[in-house]
């Protein structure tokens, strides 16, 4: 009897770990930077900035948004277009969230069309000017500006129709 219950306990433990690991879904930030937001809205206040490659744990989802928890334990919302679902999430059990790599990450890790390729391209094409591309990237619209623009213009949730 003693033996039997020990086995039962072991089996249950293994199963529980297995299920917990399956349920906990890890998401990876796939854009250069995205905001962890207080509410599921683009103009919501920012709690933290998440960088490319950072892993977060999905808690729940709602109309294109994921409620997530960061490795520092911060909870907030990220938009689904800024993250991808991590493969092999099963392995979250024995490694910390940050040290994991999936097969496609290995194939891609910092490779592909990247800065190095751009530098080589620039060296071959001095007639192509990247200066304006960099200036273009500096134009940023803040969440506050977005909210004011929507509100003033009666757009989005501030519109009469919606």
């Amino acid at each position: 009897m003693k033996k039997k219950s020990r086995f039962k306990l072991l089996l249950c433990t293994v199963l529980v770990v297995f299920v917990v690991v399956l349920v906990a879904e890890t998401l990876i930030v796939k854009v250069q930077a995205t905001n962890l937001r207080k509410e599921p809205k683009f103009y919501s206040p920012t709690l933290a900035v998440l960088k490319a490659g950072e892993n977060v744990e999905k808690i729940s989802s709602q109309a294109g948004w994921y409620k997530v928890k960061t490795s520092k334990g911060l909870e907030g919302w990220v938009h689904s277009s800024a993250v991808k679902t991590k493969k092999f999430t099963l392995l979250a059990m024995d490694k910390s969230l940050k040290t994991q790599a999936t097969a496609d990450e290995v194939a891609l890790a910092g490779k592909g069309f990247n800065k190095q390729v751009e530098e080589k391209y620039k060296a071959k094409h001095s007639e192509i000017n990247f200066a304006w591309v960099d200036r273009m990237l500096k134009i940023k619209v803040t969440p506050k500006q977005l909210e004011k623009f929507l509100r003033d213009g009666k757009l989005g949730e501030f519109g009469g129709e919606q």
Binding site: K4, F7, L10, L11, V14, F18, K30, V31, Q32, F42, A52, H79, A82, F88, L90, L91, K95, Q100, A101, T102, A103, D104, V106, A107, L108, A109, G110, K111, G112, F113, N114, K115, Q116, V117, E118, K120, Y121, E127, I128, F130, W132, V133, M136, L137, I139, K140, V141, L146, F149, L150, D152, G153, K154, L155, G156, F158, G159, G160, E161, Q162
Partner: protein, 304 residues
């Protein structure tokens, strides 16, 4: 009886453990691959994996799309001068980002950015990743914010549906993925880098040809119009803004009709017919607001 029950329990425990351990080994193997030098057979195996993982435009990563978009943009900017006005640039960027957050793809690698080109040509172009260009000639044809938003939403639609990346010849991608998959070092060696840069140039050529010379496939233009109606309406803009703009293109007798958007887009009449159907199928159509037209007019004073 008890013994056989025990057997079942033990074996199921073993199976579960094996599954978990094998998963862990995949993980360790994957990590090891990234660290160690590889034999040629291992390399082949990696290439096979890389091939299995990446074989079409949909497998281009966000970061790669960004670098392709940067170079396509640099090419466009090398062809046209930039219209420099901070206030107008801010306005165009805020209208563009507003429709982008109501699009099917609000976030891209480095976000959406909009630039005005200083030419009388009537044109708008979108490079992969969210770099969007609109000419002074096109801006002059807009009467209000809803019209401008409809045009920017059409361009956001091209980015959202990855029409630029879809224009890349598949053989180029297969070649690129092969080289990328073979590379095990952190940086590309000179030979690989040269090969990959040549493919990169050809990819830019594929996209630039469509954007500037021939235009996207008609179906992509109709799709971008459809998305413009969808994203615009979701934002709260009157989707008839797109129709108003297309109407100005219909009976155009100016020199502009041989260039830019006229050359690279299907006829205005065909587009109007399709867009009308889209608009008519909507349950509710947002109305234009004077407050938007007023701020549009204030911003456009900077165009002169």
């Amino acid at each position: 009886m008890r013994a056989s029950k025990l057997k079942i329990r033990v074996s199921s425990l073993i199976i579960i453990t094996v599954v978990l351990i094998s998963c862990a080994s995949i993980q360790e193997g994957v990590e090891a691959i990234s660290k160690i030098r590889l034999s040629s057979s291992d390399k082949e195996a990696i290439v096979k994996t890389a091939k299995a993982l990446r074989n079409s435009f949909a497998d281009i990563s966000e970061e790669e799309e960004y670098y392709i978009g940067r170079a396509v943009s640099a090419f466009i900017i090398s062809k046209y001068p930039v219209f420099q006005n901070g206030a107008l640039a801010r306005y165009i960027n805020i209208v563009g980002n507003t429709v982008a957050i109501y699009s099917n793809r609000p976030e891209t690698y480095a976000g959406y950015h909009f630039l005005i080109l200083d030419t009388e040509d009537v044109n708008a172009m979108a490079a992969p990743g969210g770099f969007i260009f609109i000419t002074r000639g096109l801006l002059k044809r807009c009467n209000d914010e809803d019209m401008l938003a409809a045009i920017l939403a059409h361009e956001v639609g091209h980015v959202s549906a990855k029409h630029g990346l879809r224009s890349i010849k598949k053989s180029r991608l297969i070649d690129a993925f092969k080289i990328i998959g073979l590379e095990t070092a952190k940086k590309f060696g000179p030979e690989k880098l040269a090969q990959l840069t040549t493919i990169f140039e050809n990819i830019l050529g594929d996209i630039a040809e469509k954007l500037i010379e021939r235009g996207y496939d008609r179906k992509y233009e109709y799709e971008a119009d459809k998305l413009s109606v969808e994203f615009g309406t979701r934002t709260g803009y009157d989707p008839n803004g797109l129709l108003d703009f297309l109407e100005t293109m219909k009976d155009d007798s100016s020199g502009a009709s041989k260039k830019g958007w006229f050359k690279t887009h299907p006829s205005a009449k065909d587009r109007i017919d399709k867009v009308k159907k889209e608009v008519n199928s909507l349950k509710a159509v947002p109305q234009r607001e004077a407050v938007r037209t007023n701020r549009f007019k204030r911003a456009m004073k900077n165009l002169k």
